[in-house]
């Protein structure tokens, strides 16, 4: 073996030893952290906010609201963007929980059933965590230590949606009307509950109203096109109720394009544009989710949990309010 070769070999071995020592040290450090398991003496005032994605304006708005509200209380907010990727979401959360930076976490889970290990890790580290959804969606039968559940009551929302449509038909159309129902795609959150409740409530409030067409609302342009097509097949459709803002706004566009008036438009969601249309009378009513109120109740709950992260968390409901032109 030449001198040069021996030097190269020695250098390689040296680098390998240093790397191995480094890995060993890192492993020991991690191991210490894990086995310790005890919560830090004082959790940092840092909130990790992990929504489904930052692409939807509603979630972007929520993240801005969380940052502003938490900031006003002296908290720092780390906003993550899993971009609808469940694996990415759990990976990002595990990283920040392991880093020791997180004092609390708020997660709108892409796949609740994939969150089990992350929730256990947060519980083990004593970091309070709030997840959107009901306990059963995460495999629990009820409240859990260190975890607060915050869910949208889709049954109540569907009931309000159907009732408002019924009221509008009774008030404006003499109790008789053909209705188009815009619903979410298969597998979307709460679809079964809201569909069943909305239809049952409509039948109860306006027994002579009939849903003559159902469309899947994916985006506003597509719903505008689909509702235009449905209107061609059922020119007498006088009511549209949709389980999201895109469906209701698409309906307004479709009726506008067809040169027709839509007497009864009912919405579930309640974004700013929808609320403006409610005020101007284009939309009869919106079952508006009160994200601002939900944001403050969620954050305040997390702050409260920090003082006793081993106690059972709450099961909260996202507040919703029926908004009409009258207020």
């Amino acid at each position: 073996m030449s001198t040069r070769r021996r030097r190269q070999t020695r250098a390689t071995v040296g680098i390998a030893m240093v790397a191995a020592a480094g890995l060993l040290l890192a492993a020991c450090t991690t191991s210490d952290g894990d086995t310790g398991g005890a919560k830090p003496a004082v959790l940092p005032k840092t909130l990790v906010f992990s929504p489904l994605s930052l692409a939807p304006p509603a979630l972007k708005g929520l993240s801005e609201g969380v940052k502003a509200y938490a900031g006003s209380k002296g908290w720092e907010v780390i906003v993550q963007d899993p971009n609808f990727d469940a694996a990415k979401q759990t990976q990002q959360l595990n990283e920040v929980l392991d880093s020791g930076r997180a004092g609390a976490a708020w997660v709108i889970a892409v796949a609740p059933q994939a969150m089990g290990d992350t929730l256990k890790a947060a519980q083990a580290k004593g970091i309070p965590i709030l997840v959107n959804g009901r306990p059963d969606e995460y495999g629990y039968s009820g409240p859990q230590p260190g975890i607060t559940f915050d869910y949208i009551d889709y049954t109540a929302a569907g009931t309000a949606l159907g009732e408002q449509m019924g009221k509008c038909i009774n008030a404006k159309l003499g109790g008789n009307a053909a209705v188009l129902y815009g619903t979410g795609a298969a597998g979307s959150a709460g679809k079964n509950e809201i569909d069943a409740a909305a239809k049952a409530a409509l039948l109860k409030t306006a027994p002579n109203a009939k849903i003559v067409s159902t469309i899947i609302v994916t985006d506003r342009a597509q719903s505008q096109t689909d509702i235009g097509n449905a209107l061609q097949g059922n020119p007498n459709i006088a009511g549209v109720m949709a389980t999201n803002d895109e469906g209701t706004l698409g309906a307004l566009g479709a009726y506008d394009a067809a040169g027709k008036a839509l007497p009864c438009a009912i919405d579930f969601g309640g974004n700013d544009e929808v609320l403006g249309d409610v005020k101007s009378g284009k939309i009869y009513a919106s079952v508006a989710l009160q994200f601002q109120a939900d944001m403050t109740q969620s954050f305040d709950t997390l702050v409260k949990m920090q003082s006793n992260p081993k106690a059972n968390g709450d099961v909260l409901v996202v507040p919703a309010k029926v908004v009409t032109a009258a207020g």
Binding site: P57, D219, Q232, G233, N234, A257
Partner: protein, 360 residues
């Protein structure tokens, strides 16, 4: 001794191994006629399919389907898909698949929306939106020419354009863009603006591809870039032109979508690529490049819109529409492949017979 012939009229050896010329002028004519028929089905099958669908829905969804008003609805619904599909088709014809289309559409939409939101003139918003399409296409093309895989390059620009759209819009939609209604919901001679825009685009691009030297070369580059290069034509330049046209169409479609819903959205919807690709594949555009027809692509978009319209009018569960489209797509691909192979086999058989027997 008579010579047995195959079903396609080809010559086969007799039992003693000798081959005799087949007195086959009639069979030859039959071959030619069947080949011509198969080629007709391959090239015009999409038109036949569309007519069949129209007839089917006219009966099934009577009386609402077969109306002028509904024809306009179908054309309007198809126009957006058609504009996206035109860009995808031109790209594929010249050998490039541009995946940045949703991002370019979102970016053009948001830039235009932002300018209008700040009370800038409409023409400026539209011009800048379209210019963005041209610039992104240029960037895609120039990077790809440096040896990078165009699919990866356009995935990169999809991410960049989507991110820039979200950044400039602050992550929110920009609503209330009623200034654009003139190219959205407004009708001219009873026909919605998007239909006029799509029609104009298709006429221009079809004339370009079929009647101009540059267009014909662009198609040739998709068929065999190396052969084109060896014939002294600067093939790279045409690839860049393909990217530019593709991105330009995406930007135009983004602006038309914005006009239709009077709202600019930073969310890039990858679904538009799949819908456009479905229309392109239904139209029989060769995914290998070099062959395709834009009028057929327009009919491909009309087929998709017709299925959706007919099923919605009948109140059929919307999931069926997606399934039917998939079945049609697979069916058309299988048919296209079967026809191409059958035509090739028959032409080869005819050529062999001609060589070996001297009769055909």
């Amino acid at each position: 001794m008579t010579l047995p012939t195959g079903t396609s009229g080809t010559v086969v050896p007799s039992s003693d191994g000798a081959a005799e010329p087949h007195p086959a002028p009639a069979a030859h004519e039959r071959d030619s006629a069947s080949v011509r028929w198969l080629i007709f089905v391959r090239d015009r099958g999409i038109f036949v399919l569309w007519i069949l669908l129209l007839l089917l829905f006219s009966v099934w969804a009577a009386p609402y389907f077969a109306q002028v008003k509904n024809a306009i609805l179908i054309a309007n619904a198809a126009s957006l898909t058609a504009i996206f599909a035109a860009g995808v088709a031109v790209g594929i014809i010249c050998g490039v698949l541009d995946l940045s289309i949703p991002g370019v559409a979102a970016l053009a939409s948001c830039v235009c929306g932002l300018l209008l939101h700040h009370h800038q003139p409409v023409w400026m918003g539209l011009l800048l939106g379209l210019l963005i399409g041209v610039v992104v296409g240029l960037v895609n093309g120039l990077i790809s020419l440096r040896g990078f895989n165009p699919i990866i390059v356009t995935i990169g620009t999809l991410s960049i354009t989507s991110a820039v759209a979200a950044i400039i819009a602050g992550g929110y939609t920009i609503p209330g863009l009623t200034q654009l209604k003139f190219m959205g919901t407004r009708r001219y001679d009873g026909v919605p603006a998007p239909v006029w825009i799509a029609a104009a685009l298709f006429v221009i691009l079809t004339v370009f591809l079929t009647q101009t030297r540059e267009g014909i070369r662009l198609m040739a580059v998709g068929g065999n870039a190396e052969a084109v290069r060896r014939s002294g034509i600067h093939s790279n330049r045409y690839k860049v032109v393909g990217f530019v046209i593709s991105s330009f169409c995406a930007a135009l479609a983004g602006l038309v979508t914005t006009a239709l819903v009077t709202e600019a959205s930073p969310a890039a919807s990858p679904g538009v690529i799949f819908t456009a690709l479905t229309a392109v594949a239904l139209a029989g555009v060769s995914l290998g490049g070099g062959r395709g027809s834009l009028p057929r692509v327009a009919v491909g978009a009309l087929v998709l819109a017709t299925i959706s319209n007919g099923l919605t009018i009948k109140g059929i569960d919307p999931y069926w529409g997606t399934g039917v489209t998939g079945v049609l797509l697979l069916g058309s691909l299988s048919l296209e492949r079967w026809i191409s192979m059958t035509v090739s086999n028959r032409l080869i058989a005819t050529a062999q017979a001609s060589v070996h027997t001297g009769t055909r």
